[in-house]
Assembly symmetry: C2
Amino acid sequence: MAPSTRARILDAALELVQQVGFTGTTVTAIEEKAGLSPGSGGFYRHFRSKEDVFRAAIERELERAQRYRREFERGAVDDPRAALSRRLLQQLDYMARIRPLINLLAREHGQFPDLTSRIGGILLDQGIVEEAGHLTRDLRPHVDHDDPHALLTVVVSALTGYHLARQFFGHPPAEVTPERFAATLAALVTSPTTGPAPCARCGHDEQAAAADPHGAE
Amino acid sequence: MAPSTRARILDAALELVQQVGFTGTTVTAIEEKAGLSPGSGGFYRHFRSKEDVFRAAIERELERAQRYRREFERGAVDDPRAALSRRLLQQLDYMARIRPLINLLAREHGQFPDLTSRIGGILLDQGIVEEAGHLTRDLRPHVDHDDPHALLTVVVSALTGYHLARQFFGHPPAEVTPERFAATLAALVTSPTTGPAPCARCGHDEQAAAADPHGAE
DNA sequence: GTCTATACCGAGATAGAC
DNA sequence: GTCTATCTCGGTATAGAC
């Protein structure tokens, strides 16, 4: 079925506002991109103002983002490092799909504080908090850390920074592919951070030894 | 000494363009903020156009950024993990000082491709490449990794993402302070990623054993 | 629902007095 | 070097015909 004029206007507005920002987007350009006669007020039969269509476009993207998130599949946790790597790639894919929201956040976060906190709330609360649960539940035995909140912040920051750097410059930093990036980050997270693991041959636990120098070992 | 009118115009333009973007900034507003009569063309005695002052402001920030980078002090590498943590905090501080450039990159990267690649070149080439040298030289014995480029990308992405999240939302993600963030990231990087370290008691090297199952060990 | 035509305003930029 | 005054253009939004 052909998209309605209203939907075409939303599409046009969303694309333009990402390219040239809110103030840089003109109603005339929206009309032209949506197949209406540029300069005619045809736009105003569907939206009351430019800010109106801007907010409507963001609401539509927020609903899409929540649908995407529900599609996340949780694979079996075989090798925890490989599972985490797959999970991180999924996260990068998710960020690519909600690119418009991230773009708008990066561009207009100073102009529309209410939308900023709304987007932030949905992305952070429903994304990060949920991910925190996953990390602590599924990877607990393999990922032992004394500050799980900070660990999660590092992971989320790395994903965010990698995504945005690609966005800004058009190519990944140092030309590192998403697969290499995810594998490296997963390897970091699934390694012991507070000391070496117990020895595979003799069972000596350096970490426990350091914590209890006069232990019964 | 009192700043010249030209400098005041540059200050005003830089601040406004970060708040409301290039198209959102009006020459009238720049004049008013710079202490000139708003609406008068006083601005045009100092710059030929709005784009002209925009580019001049960015050039000034780029020079400042290069000065900041030269001020980086390289402390003694005592404990490698603590040294890296200090270094990461320095990097966050640096990003805070070049905030205007990062803001403009996030905001106008689609509008001025030449400036985007110029800023990216200076920040990446002179920052990241230099940092790569530091990491591999000073931390080599303690940070052993099979893909140092990817490792550096993860570190830089994490710093970038943390900085930008603070910027966008006005507070750090999950309220994790820069100190906790740097300590956590440093701990991740200075841990073995490809396997446990040689055992402190019996000297068994699990990593070497895995690579050479029939070794002379 | 879409068009033509237009009112209105604000922004970029210039001319010329002081 | 800064001002007043002004030109011109483009953008938002509306009125009313079809």
